[in-house]
Symmetry: C2
Subunit: 237 residues, 2 copies
C-alpha cells in the first residue's frame, strides 16, 4: 500500500522504516524537503539529521506534506501536536478527504525554562503541559477540522520504538489501544497494528476516548522516568 | 495500627473492611455521623446506605472527620475530589500534622446533563471533567494546604474492589503506583500496599507525578467501558 507519513521526527522515522520493511511504499512528508535535507545538527529531541536517516533508507521518498498526503492511500500523522491542526488544514482539500488518517501526536505545549508551574524535572527540562486537555483532544480537533477524513487515534500509549515492533520488547505481551468514530478507519488501523505484531488491541470506542489516550502522556512520562527505560502496558482481565 | 478512613463511599468501605480484616483498628470519618446513619437510599453511585454496611461490619467505628483523623495514626482520604481540600483544611490543626495521609481521590467535576462538551456517554451520564488537571493535581493542592502532613497519592489507577485485594483478580499480576514528596510516608503506603497483596509497586517519584495518576482516570474509564468489567494494568519491562 502507498502510505504517507507526515513528519520527520523520531516516531515518524520508526513508522516509515517499519512499514517499508513490511513491503509498503512510503512517502515521508515534510514542510520543506530542501530545508529538511539541509539540516546537519540533531533536533531538540537529539534525533540525528533526517538526511542521515534517509541515506540509510534509500527506499523512502521525501516530499512535501501535500505531495505525500495526496499520494498516500493511508496517511499517518507524525506532525507534532502544536502544529498538527494548522499543517493538516493547510493541505489541498482532496489530499485527505475520504482517507484514513492515523494520529499519534500528544498536544504538548513546551514551557519556558524556569516556569514555576512545572517543578518536575524531565530529561527535556521542564514538564510540558497539554493543550487541549480533559474536555477536548487534539484528535477531536483534527477530526472537526477535517470532517471528510476518517481519523483514528492510536500508538500514543507506547514509545514509538516499541509501537512498531512490540515483539522486540517484553515478549510482546502488552496492549495497544485505538479510538475513532469511523469503523472502517479503525479496521485499517487494526490491520496495520496486527502487521506490526500487536495481538492485544482494545477498541476504546468513540474518538472522545482520545482524551484519555493523550492525557495518559504524563503517566507514561512518570513511569518512564521511574524505570529509566522502555516499558509496555498490559491490560490484565 | 489505628487507621482513619475519611469518607463513607464505596472505595472508603473497601479500605475499611480490608484493613479491619488485616487486624487494624478502623475509625471511619464522616461529616455528620447521624445524617450518614439516617440515610436509607443508595447514593448517586448506587452504593447501599452506610448503616447497612456498618451493620455487616460491627468492628468498625463511625465518627466525625475530626474525631477519626485525630484518632488515626495513619489517615486515608476517601473524601471525593470536589470536597477534599475544604474538608481536610477544616479539621483541627493537630488532626493531620506529622501524619501520613494517603489520597486516592480523582478531582472530578460533575457536569450538568446535556453539557455539549461531554458527548461521551458513560454509565453515570455525562463525562466529568477534572479540576485541577495537567499543571496541578488534587494531591499537590492538599499537600500545599497541609504542609505538615506527609501526603502519598496511590490506589487511583485501579478500581477500589481490586486495590484492596489484587490477588482476587487476574492472578494478582498487575502494577500499583505511588507518588509523594515524603519518603517516610511512601514507606508506610508501600507496607500497606504489600499487606493488601501488591508485589509490583512503582514509586513514580515526586508528588507532581500525581498529575499523571489523576489524569489516568479518563483512560481508565475508557478501558473499563470497552471491556465492560474489571481489569488491572501491568507494566511490562
Amino acid at each position: 500500500m502507498k502510505i504517507a507519513i507526515l513528519g520527520t521526527g523520531a516516531g515518524a522515522r520508526q513508522h516509515a522504516a517499519r512499514l517499508s520493511a513490511l513491503g509498503h511504499q512510503i512517502i515521508v512528508g515534510t514542510r520543506d524537503p530542501e530545508a529538511t535535507l539541509a539540516r546537519t545538527e540533531p533536533d531538540m529531541m537529539g534525533t540525528e539529521p533526517f538526511a542521515l536517516f534517509l541515506a540509510a533508507h534509500p527506499e523512502l521518498t521525501l516530499a512535501t506534506f501535500a505531495e505525500a498526503a495526496q499520494a498516500g492511500e493511508l496517511v499517518v500523522n507524525g506532525i507534532d501536536g502544536a502544529n498538527a491542526v494548522a499543517a493538516l488544514t493547510a493541505l489541498p482539500a482532496d489530499a485527505l478527504a475520504g482517507k484514513t488518517l492515523i494520529d499519534y501526536a500528544v498536544p504538548y505545549v513546551y514551557q519556558q525554562p524556569g516556569d514555576a508551574r512545572y517543578p518536575w524535572p524531565t530529561p527535556w527540562g521542564e514538564m510540558p503541559r497539554l493543550d487541549p486537555v480533559d474536555t477536548d483532544s487534539l484528535a477531536e480537533q483534527i477530526q472537526r477540522a477535517l470532517p471528510d477524513t476518517h481519523l483514528v487515534k492510536t500508538f500514543v500509549t507506547q514509545e514509538q520504538e516499541t509501537v512498531v515492533d512490540p515483539a522486540e520488547f517484553g515478549g510482546g505481551d502488552h496492549t495497544m489501544f485505538l479510538a475513532g468514530d469511523h469503523e472502517d478507519a479503525k479496521t485499517v488501523a487494526r490491520e496495520l497494528l496486527a502487521s506490526y505484531g500487536w495481538n492485544d488491541i482494545i477498541d476504546l470506542g468513540p474518538l472522545a476516548a482520545a482524551r484519555g489516550l493523550e492525557m495518559y502522556a504524563h503517566f507514561h512520562t512518570a513511569v518512564g522516568l521511574a524505570l529509566g527505560g522502555r516499558f509496555g502496558v498490559k491490560i490484565v482481565r
